[in-house]
């Protein structure tokens, strides 16, 4: 598919919903199931608790397949380029996993589980391949559909895209790569003088 195709997300989603129901199983339907969804089996079971200890979250929120998918999704949001590494190098998927496994917000967790499946279903529909197996252009095309329709927040896949971008951005720009390589942040060091507009220092590059 081409990213330039005009896309009616509402119309086309009926089709990929059908495809996904076949490919992934009927558990996806009916929608919206996001708020009601309870803990899924793909999450690793919680480690046995020591007596009296506070409940500890599971070791991982994402299973290996989900983790690989989040790796590619986050890299599609903030990719490596000639300037610096991207979300994968910055281990953004690990960051998101931590946020989710420690989160008390079941709605947020359910949105991620559902969102990952919906994205994969979209990729299978549009590209004939799972998101992880699709080539970079095709991945961009899937996310472009969602980005171009990001006002349709009643759709779970759109809400998921917004959440994916939010946490990817948060994880990336708080990482070493994001702060130092990408933005070349100049702070957290001692200055003798404040830097201002008149100074010959970097202001005029």
């Amino acid at each position: 598919m081409s990213t330039n195709d005009p896309m009616d997300l509402r119309q086309s989603r009926r089709e990929w919903m059908k495809t996904s129901a076949v490919a992934i199983g009927a558990s996806l339907l009916p929608l919206p199931a996001v708020a009601a969804e309870t803990l899924q089996t793909e999450t690793a079971p919680a480690a046995p608790q020591a007596k009296g200890a506070e409940a500890k979250p599971a070791a991982r929120f994402f299973n290996p397949a989900q983790h690989a998918l989040v790796d590619e999704l986050s890299e599609t949001i903030v990719p490596a380029d000639s300037h610096s590494g991207g979300a994968k190098a910055a281990r953004v998927a690990d960051y998101i996993d931590q946020v989710l496994r420690e989160s008390f917000d079941e709605t947020q967790k359910a949105l991620w589980r559902e969102g990952l499946r919906l994205i994969d279903a979209m990729s299978r529909h549009y590209n004939g391949k799972s998101f992880v197996n699709a080539n970079p252009e095709d991945r961009v095309a899937v996310l472009t559909v969602l980005s171009n329709n990001d006002h349709m927040t009643d759709l779970p896949e759109v809400r998921f895209f917004i959440e994916l971008k939010r946490l990817t951005v948060r994880g990336y720009y708080t990482s070493k790569i994001g702060i130092h390589d990408e933005l070349e942040y100049k702070g957290n060091r001692i200055l003798q003088e404040f830097v201002g507009c008149d100074d010959p220092t970097p202001q005029t590059s």
Partner: protein
């Protein structure tokens, strides 16, 4: 500093309730006069040095600097669609914080909302119960008031004048400047007097562009006047000068204490005199009164950890618990001689509650700065202050009083502009290229002091310690809303005139309380029938009772209050010490 033992059989010269800007200043001034002072603070013992992690990288923090997942901080929407007490509906969050407690650096400084409920109208009430209170998280803008504020009634007929003039307080502003340190640039403005400034910060290029454009309109933009020592303070071993390091917007305190905070600026030096005794975990619930004389005799407090009751005794009681908590304490202190609460024969305690309205503002982009190399802009305590321009020489037909803007531009540790549309290579590049080009500002405007804006005690709801909660009856009025309209329009006009590309104009008025500048609930005045305190913040009714925090303000002006709170407090405590020596209390 050495901490001395609390002795509850002793009659101290003075008990100070609260350890923030006002309580810290009272402790400093009174101990420097040789008085024996007991300072009661409601907060837990919090090692503020450990809390202030100014140089910590987000990737070195367990939550990248975000609030831990077991905590929730209230959002603007939640303040709007819910009603106080705000605890309901957040059962999954172990800790519930006010809006400002939204990161890992502030979470231990601000109180848990559920332990400290309040009722009534919506209010974004920010409280910090720890040594130093809100001075640990303040925005550091340190401005003076002028006779445009103290004598505002003479100019527009509204409200009351203060019982002091600028000349009364000016020497004390000077003392505060020199003792605590302030950075800024002299501007010779009659409505915003200069301080005795240390080395100023510098404006970045977008800010210079705005300043030059504003000068053509006759408006003044000056470097952020920050309560930060940029040259250092020889007399204070606890504080370093500012090294412009970065991440100043983090607001979780300054770990080298270049930014003023009450513990290192005032309380530790006061402890070094040997005259100060501190008691933590002490929730004051009543000022006790001698039934024979009607005078204050001490403070009844609860240990917040053991829940046990205690009473401490003193010749003078100095209330500095913050504007709203001080009013609450006075109202709680009912007795046969003071049936409406202490110092409240006028009925004005809790009333004339005022503050600053905020929300309207603008974000722009300086196109000539797009694509430039990253610069260190957030190592400054702040960018700029755009001074008041309404109702000075002219008379605005829509509203009285004025507003100023706080703003700044340039690079920040977490980049501005990540809300750009899209994703991928183009998005990443856009964030990078624009990171230093953004400039923004938001207005702070005077909320008129009105008798009908007030707080009282809730008849049912109590806090964790069984102390009746405060109930709010407080709303912005027409003057404020018309002013907010004007803020939005002028903000946009000024950015357009400077040639910035407008990215966002905000017309949204934030919830009452958002400025954290609450004032006026025990105002000063010369008439005991319409005011609570005299010009020395001394109760008209109870001679040995002083209320030295923002509650004494007669109006809010549009300038940030901290520097004025401390200057007034210094003046009053000098008077207190003299009166005590002369046997007049």
């Amino acid at each position: 500093m050495a901490e001395s033992e609390v002795n509850l059989t002793k009659t101290y010269d003075a008990i100070v309730i609260g350890s923030g800007a006002a309580g810290g200043m009272a402790a400093h001034v009174l101990t420097s006069h040789g008085l024996q002072v007991l300072l009661l603070k409601a907060g837990k013992e919090l090692p503020i040095e450990k809390e202030s992690r100014s140089m910590e990288w987000p990737y070195g923090n367990a939550y990248s600097g975000q609030l831990p997942p077991d905590s929730h901080s209230l959002s603007f929407n939640e303040y709007t669609i819910r009603n106080p007490p705000y605890g309901l509906g957040f059962e999954k969050a172990k800790h519930l914080k006010s809006y400002i407690g939204s990161n890992d650096y502030l979470k231990n400084i601000v109180v848990d909302e559920r332990e400290n409920p309040f009722t009534g109208t919506n209010y974004a009430w920010v409280r910090a119960r720890c040594l130093g209170g809100k001075t640990n998280i303040w925005g550091r803008l340190a401005l003076r008031l002028s006779d445009y504020d103290f004598k505002a009634k003479d100019r527009d007929g509204y409200g009351e004048n203060w019982p002091i003039s600028y000349t009364d307080i000016a020497p004390y502003y000077d003392k505060v400047d020199l003792y605590l340190g302030i950075t800024g640039v002299k501007e010779n403005l009659p409505y915003l007097p200069d301080s005795i400034f240390q080395r100023p910060t510098k404006l970045n290029c977008a800010e210079v562009t705005l300043k030059e454009s504003l000068a053509k309109m006759g408006r003044v933009l000056t470097q952020y006047r920050a309560g930060v020592t940029s040259d250092g303070l020889k007399h204070n071993k606890y504080r370093s000068r500012c090294y412009g390091r970065g991440a100043c917007e983090r607001k979780g305190g300054c770990d080298i204490h270049a930014a003023f905070d009450s513990p290192t600026g005032l309380i530790y030096p006061a402890m070094d005199t040997g005259n100060l005794t501190l008691r933590t975990n002490s929730v004051a619930r009543e000022i006790t009164v001698d039934p024979r004389t009607g005078k204050a005799s001490g403070v009844h407090f609860i240990d917040s950890q053991t829940m046990k009751d205690y009473t401490a005794h003193a010749k003078v009681v100095v209330v500095a618990a913050s504007t709203l908590e001080s009013a609450r304490l006075l109202l709680l202190s009912k007795s046969r001689l003071h049936p409406n609460g202490l110092a409240n024969s006028s009925g004005h305690v809790g009333h004339n509650f005022c503050e600053h309205i905020m929300g309207p503002g603008v974000t722009g982009r300086a196109k000539n700065l797009v694509g430039k190399t990253s610069t260190l802009d957030d190592g400054r305590p702040g960018g700029f202050y755009l001074t008041r321009f309404r109702n000075l020489a002219d008379k605005n037909p829509k509203f009285i009083r004025g507003y100023g803007f706080e703003g700044g531009g340039g690079c920040t540790m977490f980049p501005r502009g990540t809300d750009a549309h899209g994703f991928g290579v183009a998005f990443k590049e856009e964030v990078r290229k624009n990171q230093g080009a953004f400039i923004g500002m938001g207005a702070f405007g005077e909320v008129l002091a009105r008798y009908e804006n007030y707080v009282d005690l809730d008849p049912i709801v109590k806090d964790k310690w069984g102390v009746p909660a405060l109930r709010f009856h407080y709303k912005f009025g027409d003057n404020e809303h018309r002013m907010a309209e004007d803020m939005k329009e002028t903000a946009q006009e000024m950015f357009e005139a400077a040639g910035f590309e407008i990215v966002h104009v905000s017309s949204r008025v934030l919830t009452e309380g958002w400025s954290i500048h609450e004032l006026g609930t025990a105002r000063m005045g010369s008439d005991p029938k319409t005011s609570v305190l005299n010009q020395f913040q001394q109760s008209h009714d109870v001679k040995n009772l002083f209320v030295v925090d923002g509650s004494a303000f007669v109006n809010a002006s549009c300038q940030n209050p901290t520097w004025t709170i401390m200057s007034l407090c210094w003046r009053s405590c000098d008077y207190l010490a003299d009166e005590l020596k002369n046997g007049n209390l």
